[in-house]
C-alpha cells in the first residue's frame, strides 16, 4: 500500500479527521469496515501459521516484505472489524523504514477511540499487531546494519 508521499503523522492526522466526522459508534464501525475492504489481502496460501498473530479472539495474519529500505505489510483477518483495525495500522506504517516504524507514536489509536482495544487484556489483538510490526522492524533494522 502506498502512502502517497505523506509522512506518518500526516496519515495519522488524516485518519483522525475522517473519524471525527462520526459521533455514533455504529458509524465509526461502518467506516472501519470500509477501511478493511481497501486492505490488500493475503493470498490464501500466504495465510500461514508463521504470519498468524497470537492472542487475538479473531485470527490475524500479517506478512512483511522488506525491500532493503522500507517494509511493506499485507494482512488479513477472519473478522471484519479486526481487518479494519489492521488496515489502519498498515495505512500508517506500511512503506516506512524500520527506524520510522520503531520511533512512531501511534497517537491516532487513542484519538479515534480505539484505545480501549489497546488494553493488554483485550483479545482483539490491536496491541499484539502493533507489537508484531515493531518486532519485524527491529529484525529488519538489525539486518540492515548486519
Amino acid at each position: 500500500m502506498s502512502n502517497n508521499g505523506k509522512t506518518i503523522n500526516q496519515v495519522q492526522d488524516q485518519i483522525i479527521d475522517e473519524f471525527s466526522l462520526f459521533d455514533d459508534w455504529m458509524d465509526k464501525y461502518d467506516h472501519l469496515i470500509e477501511e478493511g475492504k481497501d486492505l490488500q489481502l493475503l493470498d490464501e496460501n500466504e495465510k500461514k501459521q508463521d504470519f498468524l498473530i497470537e492472542g487475538c479472539q479473531s485470527r490475524v495474519w500479517l506478512k512483511p516484505d522488506f525491500d532493503g529500505e522500507k517494509i511493506y505489510f499485507k494482512a488479513d483477518s477472519d473478522a471484519i472489524i479486526t481487518k479494519g483495525i489492521v488496515a489502519l495500522l498498515i495505512k500508517v506504517l506500511s512503506g516506512r523504514t524500520p527506524s520510522e516504524i520503531l520511533e512512531t507514536d501511534l497517537y491516532f489509536i487513542e484519538k479515534v477511540g480505539l484505545s480501549q482495544n489497546l488494553s493488554p487484556t483485550r483479545s482483539n489483538g490491536l496491541l499484539a499487531m502493533v507489537k508484531q510490526m515493531k518486532l519485524y522492524a527491529m529484525a529488519y533494522k538489525a539486518k540492515q546494519k548486519g
Partner: protein, 405 residues
C-alpha cells in the same frame, strides 16, 4: 411472588448505562452481578467487626469466626451436605478442582491408571487432570458428545475400565448450556466403585442441588457465579474421601502440631484450608445463598426457563443463526453463530448497543473443536433478565447482519 422490577432494583449494576444505552447484561455465565445485600454484607464485615478468625481470644475475632462458621453451615444446608466438615472454602471452582486432582491423585493414582472426563468440560475441569495424569503417568479418557451437545452416555460403560479411578463431569456446560444427567452418571460410576467429581460452577445457581441425593463424591462451585463475591468457592467432599486424602496446601490453621521433624494435620474442614481464608468472601457468599433462598430456586428456574424459550424462539425467527447445544435439556444459556459473521464482529457491535454477551471459546476449546468452530456468541441469562432485554439482543443481531452481510 416473583416481582422482576423489585428483583432488578436489588442489583445496583443493572441500573447503569453503557455508551448511553441501558446495560443488557447477558454475561452471567462468566460471572453474576451482586445484590445490594451481598455488597452490604461485605462492607459490614470490613467496617464493623473485621478481625482474623480462629485462634483469636478477643471479641472481634469471635464475631468474625462465628460469621465464617455460620457461612459454612449455610453452604452445607444449601447443598444438603451431611456435615459442615465436608464443606471446604477455597478460592473458587478452579482451586477446588485443582485441590481434588492433586490430593486425590497423590493418594490413589498410580502409573497406568485412568481418569475419565467428558468432552463438555471447561478448561478448569480438564487441565488439572491433565497435569496430574502427566505427573503420575496416568491416562486421561474422554466421554464424547453427540451432535445436539448431549453426552454420549452409551460410551460411559465402554470407557470405564478396571483402571478408572475417578470420573469428573460438569453439571452444566458453560459453553453450550447442556445439563448433564449427573445423577445417572454417578450411579453408573458407583457400580464400579468409581467416585465422581461434579463441576457445579454452572449448576448451583440454576436449580436445586442436593449432594446427598446425587450421591456426588465431590461437588464444586464458585461464589462469584452464584451472586457472591470474587475469590471464594466451595469444595464439597464426602467425608470418607476428605479424611483419607492428604492435604493440598500447607500453612496456618491446617496444622495441628508443627515441628521440623514432624507435622501433624488439623481435622476437617481445616485440614484443607491453609492460611487466612477469604472469610469475608465466605460471609458474602452465604448472604448470596440466603438471597437466592428468599427468591426461591423454583421461581428462579421457572423465570429462567421462560427466558430461554422466548430467546430461542425470537432468535430463530431472525433466521441465519446456527445454534450449539440443541438438546432440550439446557439452562438459560444460548450459544450460537450468525452465519457468515465472525462472533467477534457481532460481539463488538452488540457491545456498542449496550448488550454484554461473551464471544470466543468460553474456556472450553475442546467443545468448539468438536463442532469445528473457533467460538460462539453466548448469551447467558439469569433470573434478573427480561424479555425486553432479549428483544434488544435481537435488534442487535439484526443490526450486526445489516452491517456485516
Amino acid at each position: 411472588m416473583f416481582d422482576i422490577n423489585k428483583i432488578r432494583s436489588d442489583f445496583p449494576v443493572l441500573a447503569r448505562e453503557v455508551y448511553g444505552k441501558p446495560l443488557v447484561y447477558f454475561d452471567n455465565g462468566a460471572t453474576t452481578q451482586k445484590p445490594a445485600r451481598v455488597i452490604d454484607a461485605v462492607r459490614e464485615a470490613y467496617d464493623s467487626y473485621y478481625s482474623n478468625i480462629h485462634r483469636g481470644v478477643h471479641a472481634l475475632s469471635d464475631i468474625s469466626s462465628g460469621k465464617y462458621e455460620n457461612a459454612r453451615e449455610k453452604v452445607r444446608a444449601f447443598i444438603n451436605a451431611e456435615s459442615k466438615k465436608e464443606i471446604i472454602f477455597t478460592a473458587g471452582t478452579t482451586a477446588s478442582i485443582n485441590l481434588v486432582a492433586f490430593s486425590f491423585g497423590e493418594r490413589y493414582i498410580k502409573k497406568g491408571d485412568e481418569v475419565l472426563i467428558t468432552a463438555l468440560e471447561h478448561h478448569a475441569n480438564i487441565v488439572p487432570w491433565q497435569m496430574m495424569c502427566e505427573r503420575k503417568g496416568a491416562v486421561l479418557k474422554v466421554i464424547p458428545i453427540n451432535d445436539d451437545g448431549s453426552l454420549n452416555l452409551e460410551k460411559v460403560n465402554e470407557l470405564i475400565t478396571g483402571k478408572t479411578k475417578i470420573l469428573a463431569v460438569t453439571h452444566v456446560s458453560n459453553a453450550i448450556g447442556v445439563i448433564n444427567p449427573v445423577k445417572e452418571i454417578i450411579e453408573a460410576a458407583h457400580k464400579h466403585n468409581i467416585p465422581v467429581l461434579v463441576d457445579g460452577a454452572q449448576g448451583i445457581q440454576h436449580g436445586h442441588v442436593d449432594v446427598m441425593d446425587l450421591e456426588a463424591d465431590f461437588y464444586v462451585f464458585s461464589g462469584h457465579k452464584v451472586y457472591g463475591p470474587t475469590g471464594i468457592g466451595v469444595l464439597y467432599g464426602k467425608r470418607k474421601w476428605l479424611e483419607d486424602m492428604p492435604p493440598y496446601q500447607g500453612g496456618g490453621d491446617m496444622v495441628d502440631r508443627v515441628s521440623f521433624e514432624k507435622t501433624t494435620y488439623n481435622e476437617l474442614p481445616f485440614k484443607f484450608e491453609a492460611g487466612t481464608t477469604n472469610f469475608v468472601g465466605a460471609i458474602g457468599m452465604a448472604e448470596a445463598l440466603d438471597y437466592i433462598g428468599s427468591i426461591g430456586m423454583d421461581n428462579i428456574s421457572k423465570h429462567e426457563n421462560e427466558l430461554k424459550h422466548y430467546a430461542k424462539e425470537r432468535l430463530e425467527q431472525l433466521g441465519g443463526l446456527t445454534f450449539y447445544g440443541t438438546t432440550a435439556n439446557t439452562i438459560s444459556i444460548l450459544s450460537f453463530l450468525v452465519d457468515n459473521i465472525h462472533q467477534y464482529d457481532a460481539g463488538m457491535i452488540l457491545d456498542k448497543m449496550g448488550v454484554a454477551i461473551r464471544t470466543g471459546s468460553h474456556c472450553a476449546q475442546p467443545v468448539m473443536s468438536r463442532f469445528g468452530i473457533d467460538g460462539t456468541i453466548r448469551a447467558s441469562m439469569c433470573f434478573y433478565n427480561t424479555k425486553e432485554e432479549i428483544d434488544i439482543l435481537c435488534e442487535g443481531i439484526e443490526k450486526v447482519k445489516m452491517m456485516m452481510l
